[in-house]
């Protein structure tokens, strides 16, 4: 059963918030406010998260994993290499010396953390992404967009709500 | 010629183990058989060593060692050459040698750079205007014969450096065959005054000096650790002397106006007014007499008037130091007093030396630390000793246009003759000049015919050292490798060819100099104490050891030096116009400049100033401050003869009334590593001679200095701290009362 997309543009966050609240309060068949609603904005706006409700972010778990693995890998790689290559004896120092290895472990800890965080970001944010079916470049300028996905039947209800809240523009996916 | 004969030799005698030494270096490895321009398959063979058909003694990857004799100076150190794949790589000392006991100085080690020097003469050269034209040896010999034709013996002269052994014999024979007596043996910095003074005082020119047996060595400018007589031998004695007998360390007191390497190692370095060494010696004798040492009548008479106050005033040595020195000499016996070139380089040099030798007599050192040297039972082989008086005579004769043919060998008078002699101009008056040379040095450049010589590492020879360390010995020089250049010849071979031109019959048995050498040594086999052994064994053993030890008797030593005739002039008055004494210093590695083209020596820092690749003017810092001179100021140093320019170096080890410039640099020829580096102080030396021996008084030139207004960076190893340790614990020192040397290992 195919779903259809609908995109509405608003001039401010306040408008968008009202729309989302109304959508939340209105029960529309074939439209789930938690799953089928996407707010697009030109800036990062914490209120959006608030009025959309807390959604979990998992990037930090990637970070933790990356940092720990980076550190462990660093230490064992370095110590292991030193141990295997003990011909490289340095007078006055043990074959596996701690201070230098800790410095390098530290760097690897950060390296792992950053790399895997970015990886986590890409995964969690779904990037790189295919462009969604409806997009207006004004989002990257100054408009707030609300993209909804619904059964064909719900489209008109949604459209009505958008219009009510002075949507500047409403785009609808062409029917099949 | 030599090559072909040696090839024949190879062909005729298959190698066996016994033979390999004989052939060694003669035909050597399969290198250098082809000359230039050869287009055959042999082309480039000189750079290839065949391991498929390697000669017996070429073991790939393994070095073999052969004994020979160092030819870098006349001390006659026995060397041991390291040879790999037919190349001589390094010269080391022959441990069996009484002279150097396995040790080597830097000069000697640089012998390989003489051998491999890229600027060696490779072909006989005949003068064509300003250029040299390559000719064949046959033509060269023919030319010599032609030039000698109809010339009387009187009109032929041979100028040679010090020469000994069979080469000297052949040289003498050749001149005899020419009917000439004009052999001039010239060495610019030889201890000639010393020899005369020793002969007078001890009855022998070169007795043995036992530094190791002395408790005190008092040296008047004898640089026995650097350049004097047999430095490597004396250095070893010095090491023993420092360890001392029963842990009592030997004390070295050096008296001189410019610090030498030996002076830099002295326990007490006493700076004296230039030329007053003899006065100091007499003053010490006088003080010894006053402290109870018995003086014979004539000695007492001779030293009368040399009281401490006067001596101190004349020499600049304080009474306190004089007293301490006298006390030390009296207390610690035996001692040894040495006279060196610094004391002898004056018009009264012989007198200075006599006064210094007299001190040995007074201290009873003769027979203890000065012993008779062993004599060589073959007088014809003892060295023809070089001196500068010979050059003066030659120069006068040349100026008179006396010579139609002049040979020069192993000496470079155009470079080393004092400027006042105008030697170069006089040399031009000789008719036909033949130079036997390794390089196109200044003298060879003036020659009409230049004949290229084998290097000392590819030539045969015998050498008899002037200074005998223990028993007498004859040193064997043998090739350490095949000749590097196809068209050079050994001096012995050349002389043999030349003498054959005159007396072919006499020498017909000798195909070459090698044969001559072998034959003549075999004839005296019995006298050498090897009468019982067969010829081949004797010969192999001789070549293996590189030394023939002689059972010669000791020369007579007389211990009765007389003070008669000892007349020392008063300390020289100041010269108003030329206010500085010029001290041309003889450095250990450059000497008279014949080896300046050996880059190791150029880059080996002068031990005292650490300067490399250049000449310098040493001046005392106080004097320099007075004159506003700082390091690197270019100074014009002018004598009555001429002037030269060199950078100033502030040096505390020099008398404020003297400046010093090292000899050896300032070449206008001699190849890429020598030409254009530094200045040549020989050029400005005045013609002053020792009154007794006629030797050039090296230290008598007076100079004035002026800044030319240019300042350059002195190229030296010493850093900005100027050799001060700056309170850091780096080179530490203790005095003898703080150490217990007898407990040491």
């Amino acid at each position: 059963m195919s779903k259809r997309h609908l995109l509405a543009m608003f001039s401010s966050f306040d408008e968008a918030e009202l729309v989302v609240q109304e959508l939340r309060n209105t029960s529309i068949k074939g439209f789930d406010v938690n799953d089928d609603l996407v707010v697009k904005s030109p800036i990062e706006h914490p209120e959006v998260e608030e009025f959309l409700g807390e959604k979990p972010v998992y990037v930090q778990w990637f970070t933790l994993f990356g940092a720990l693995m980076g550190g462990l890998l660093g230490f064992f790689l370095i110590s292991g290499a030193q141990a295997n290559f003990f011909e490289q004896l340095k007078g006055g120092k043990p074959i596996v010396p701690f201070p230098p290895n800790f410095v390098l472990t530290y760097e690897m800890f950060i390296l792992g953390g950053v790399y895997i965080s970015v990886l986590g970001f890409l995964i969690c944010a779904g990037l790189p992404a295919k462009r969604s079916p409806l997009y207006s470049s004004s989002v990257s300028e100054d408009k707030i967009a609300i993209l909804v996905k619904s059964e064909a039947g719900a489209t008109s209800t949604l459209r009505a709500i958008f219009t009510k809240h002075q949507a500047l523009e409403i785009q609808e996916e062409a029917g099949k | 010629m030599i090559d072909s004969s040696s090839i024949k030799q190879l062909a005729g005698h298959p190698f066996d183990r016994r033979d390999f030494l004989k052939v060694l270096g003669w035909s050597g490895a399969a290198v250098a058989l082809s000359g230039c321009g050869n287009t055959s398959i042999e082309n480039g063979k000189e750079t290839v060593v065949s391991y498929v058909e390697a000669a017996d003694y070429v073991i790939p990857g393994v070095a073999v060692y052969y004994n020979s004799t160092c030819a870098q100076c006349d001390a006659g150190c026995n060397i041991n050459g390291r040879v790999r794949e037919g190349r001589v790589l390094k010269l080391e000392g022959n441990a069996a040698s009484a002279i150097n006991r396995g040790k080597m100085c830097g000069l000697g080690q640089a012998g390989v750079q003489h051998h491999y020097n890229p600027d060696r003469v490779r072909e006989p050269l005949l003068r064509k205007g300003d250029k040299g034209e390559t000719i064949s040896w046959d033509k060269a010999y023919a030319l010599i014969a032609e030039k000698l034709n109809g010339v009387s013996g009187e009109q032929v002269a041979f100028l040679s450096g010090a020469v000994s052994g069979h080469l000297k014999v052949l040289l003498g024979n050749y001149l005899e065959s020419l009917g000439s007596k004009n052999l001039y043996v010239y060495e610019a910095v030889a201890p000639a005054v010393q020899r005369a003074a020793n002969k007078k005082a001890y009855g022998t020119e070169m007795p043995r000096f036992n530094i190791n047996k002395a408790k005190v060595v008092l040296s008047f400018g004898a640089d026995f650790l650097g350049s004097w007589v047999s430095p490597v031998h004396f250095s070893q004695q010095y090491a023993q002397f420092r360890k001392g007998v029963d842990g009592q360390r030997g004390v070295l007191v050096q008296v001189e106006s410019k610090m030498t390497l030996t002076g830099a190692n002295a326990d007490r370095w006493l700076v004296v007014r230039p030329g007053t060494e003899g006065i100091l010696a007499l003053g010490i004798i006088n003080a010894l007499g006053a402290s109870g040492v018995t003086l014979s009548g004539d000695v007492a008479a001779a030293v009368q008037g040399y009281d401490k106050a006067r001596v101190s005033n004349d020499t600049g040595v304080s009474v306190e130091h004089l007293d301490k020195l006298v006390a030390l000499l009296k207390e610690r016996t035996p001692s040894l007093v040495l006279a060196g070139s610094a004391a002898e380089g004056y018009a009264h040099g012989s007198q200075n030396a006599a006064a210094i030798n007299l001190l040995n007599q007074v201290l009873g050192n003769v027979g203890k630390t000065i012993e008779a040297s062993a004599s060589v039972p073959f007088p014809q082989m003892i060295p023809a000793k070089g001196n500068t008086a010979a050059l003066k005579t030659l120069n006068d004769d040349l100026a008179a246009g006396k010579y139609k043919v002049l040979f020069t060998y192993a000496t470079n008078p155009v470079f080393t003759a004092p400027g006042s002699m105008k030697f170069k101009a006089n040399l031009a008056k000789a008719g036909f000049k033949v130079a036997f040379a390794h390089y196109l040095d200044e003298t060879a450049l003036e020659a009409d015919l230049v004949l290229p010589l084998d290097s000392a590492l590819e030539d045969w020879g015998t050498q008899v050292p002037e200074y005998m360390a223990e028993g007498a010995q004859i040193n064997i020089q043998q090739p350490l490798m095949e000749k590097l250049h196809a068209n050079t010849q050994g001096m012995g071979d050349i002389l043999l060819t030349l003498v054959k031109q005159r007396e072919a019959d006499k020498y017909k048995d000798f195909a070459d100099y090698y044969g001559y050498l072998r034959g003549s040594l075999l004839t005296i086999k019995g006298a050498l104490g090897s009468g019982g052994t067969d010829d081949d064994t004797f010969w192999d053993e001789t070549l293996t050891s590189g030394i023939i030890k002689l059972a010669g008797s000791a020369e007579q030593l007389s211990g009765n030096a007389s003070a008669a005739g000892l007349q020392l002039p008063a300390a020289a008055a100041a010269d108003a116009q030329y206010s500085f004494h010029l001290i041309p210093s003889v450095t250990a590695y450059l000497r008279d400049g014949r080896h300046t083209n050996q880059p190791w020596l150029q880059e080996s820092p002068d031990p005292l100033t650490t300067i490399v690749w250049d000449s310098w003017v040493e001046i005392h810092p106080k004097k320099a401050a007075e004159l506003g001179i700082v390091e690197g100021d270019v100074l014009e140093v002018s004598s009555r003869t001429g002037s030269i320019r060199a950078q100033a170096y502030l040096f505390p080890g020099i008398h404020p009334d003297a400046i010093s410039i090292p000899l050896g640099r300032g070449h206008e020829a001699l190849g890429r590593y020598a030409k254009g580096y530094g200045v040549n102080p020989f050029q400005i030396l005045d013609a002053v001679f020792d009154q007794e021996t006629g030797e050039l008084a090296l230290h008598e030139t007076r100079v004035k200095i002026s800044k030319v207004g240019q300042r350059i960076i002195v190229v030296k190893d010493e850093g900005a701290a100027g050799g001060k340790p700056e309170q850091r614990r780096i080179a530490l020192s203790k005095s003898t009362d703080q150490v217990k040397l007898s407990e040491e290992v």
């Binding site: 996407v38 697009k40 904005s41 030109p42 800036i43 990062e44 706006h45 959006v48 998260e49 959604k55 972010v57 990037v59 930090q60 970070t63 370095i78 290499a81 030193q82 295997n84 290559f85 490289q88 340095k90 010396p97 230098p100 290895n101 410095v103 390098l104 530290y106 760097e107 950060i110 390296l111 953390g113 950053v114 790399y115 965080s117 970015v118 970001f121 944010a125 990037l127 790189p128 992404a129 295919k130 462009r131 969604s132 997009y135 470049s137 990257s140 300028e141 100054d142 | 960076i713 010493e718 850093g719 900005a720 701290a721 050799g723 001060k724 340790p725 700056e726 309170q727 850091r728 780096i730």
Partner: protein, 454 residues
């Protein structure tokens, strides 16, 4: 004076910034040409040095490191202010950083790349530099992990790649703007590719925020560690004048200092060249200047601490080096460093200079000069006056080859930076919008509160 006008329309922000990608003032091309020429000089010097040998740099024993290492530290140091502006101020919610952090981050990236070049031109066998990389190989050899130089390599690699990622991640929303607004062509393709399909959805923003914050948190200790490690090149050695405990913080302060000075310079240049007067306002400049002044004083203090520690300590060798810095042949440069580094910034304390653009431009250049001299004075005097007096050598003057490469590095950096500013938005559009938005909200709130009070 406001940091930014609240009434700037968001669309205008887009327009103003995007125009910088297309149509800068002529001066831009002059700068690019100048930079290219300088870089060519440096490249020529390097080719010559590569062919002939390091000797042409007129280095020697003991002066084995010359301007190369000094300038290396300089560039590493300069990289730190980018991190300071973007990461530290981000964590501290100082929103005035927003119009200027992008170019500061670019500066970080490019100065690190420039610094990396100096490692290359410095080593004697450039063609074997990969020996210093830890890679498994059939000989079983590894680099020496004990060497501070290896820590350097590791730290710089981490820092450079993290900085690039940070710069990139922070730029994704702007790249989307570029993608949406530019005409077809290679640029459009480039931005489309780099924007990764960013649409500004709530999910993207949510993860973006956390990621950006996380990387910022990593970058701060990383930046500190990087310059501490560079300081370790010296402090971990045994040489007098280097073996100083306070070197790591001293280096970090110096790094922030030189970076801030460079930011002022580039701020002024960009503001003019790209007509960013509305965004890079004098008020922001003033804040940057004040920050610079504060760091200058910290640096001065740490400098004094170092000298005092040496002076009152019993390490005679270190003391000798210090005395030689102040009185020896390096004295003009050392005093020049003190003047430029500690005296000149005092001008920044005066309000009237804090917004005077010509004065600030001159001052920032002097500060940069002072900081470069500082690095040279750390490296050179210890070599020429180390433990071992025999080899003291105070006269070693860098050859033109060395100077050429130092100049070339400035050309290289400027070139990279200028090309970046032309290709990528050097002012963060989305963040300026945020800034304007939040400030206007704040303004409204105040107005409402003000009205309520009446």
């Amino acid at each position: 004076m406001k940091d930014i006008r609240e009434d700037i329309a968001w669309a205008k922000i887009n327009r103003d910034v995007l125009v910088s990608l297309e149509n800068p003032r002529k001066l831009y091309w002059v700068i690019v040409f100048g930079a290219l020429s300088l870089f060519s000089v440096g490249l020529g010097c390097e080719i010559y040095q590569y062919q002939v040998g390091m000797g042409v740099a007129n280095l020697n024993n003991p002066n084995v490191w010359g301007l190369y290492i000094a300038t290396f530290i300089f560039w590493i140091g300069m990289s730190h202010s980018g991190t300071l502006l973007s990461a530290i101020l981000h964590l501290m919610h100082a929103d005035w950083r927003k119009p200027i952090y992008r170019f500061a981050e670019a500066m970080t990236t490019f100065s690190l790349m420039t610094a990396g070049l100096f490692v290359m031109v410095h080593i004697g066998r450039l063609w074997q530099f990969y020996y210093a990389l830890p890679y498994p190989n059939d000989r079983g050899t590894w680099p020496n992990f004990q060497s501070p130089l290896l820590w350097d390599a590791m730290a710089i690699f981490t820092y450079l790649s993290s900085s690039v990622l940070f710069l990139y991640v922070g730029m994704i929303p702007d790249l989307a703007i570029c993608r949406d607004n530019l005409h077809k062509g290679w640029r459009k393709k480039l931005y489309t590719l780099l924007a990764l399909g960013w649409e500004g959805t709530d999910r993207q923003w949510r993860n973006f925020r956390v990621t950006y914050l996380t990387i910022a948190c990593f970058l701060i200790p990383l930046a500190v560690s990087v310059h501490s490690i560079v300081a370790s090149d010296f402090a971990m050695s045994q040489q007098p004048g280097w073996h100083v405990t306070s070197f790591p913080p001293y280096f970090v302060a110096g790094a922030l200092y030189s970076g801030c000075a460079a930011i002022i310079t580039l701020f002024i240049i960009l503001r003019y060249v790209f007509r960013f007067e509305d965004y890079m306002t004098k008020s922001i400049l003033k804040k940057t200047v004040r920050l610079t002044f504060a760091i200058a004083m910290v640096w001065t203090y740490l400098n004094a601490v170092e000298f005092a520690a040496v002076w009152y300590g019993h390490d005679m060798d270190a003391k000798a080096v210090l005395i030689q810095k102040a009185t020896g042949p390096f004295a003009p440069f050392w005093w020049g460093m003190v003047f430029c580094g500690s005296v000149v910034p005092l001008m920044l304390a005066f309000k009237r200079f804090q917004t005077n653009i010509p004065v600030l431009f001159a001052v920032s250049l002097l500060l940069n000069l002072g900081m470069w001299l500082e690095r040279w004075m750390i490296v050179a005097p210890t070599f020429s006056h180390g433990y071992y007096p025999w080899v003291w050598d105070n006269d070693q003057w860098p050859s033109l080859i060395q100077w050429g490469m130092v100049m070339g590095s400035f050309g290289w950096f400027t070139l990279l930076f200028m090309v970046f500013c032309k290709v990528f938005p050097s002012v963060s559009m989305y963040e300026v919008k945020e800034m304007v938005y939040h400030r206007s909200l704040h303004l409204k709130k105040n107005e409402t509160a003000g009205q309520g009070a009446h």
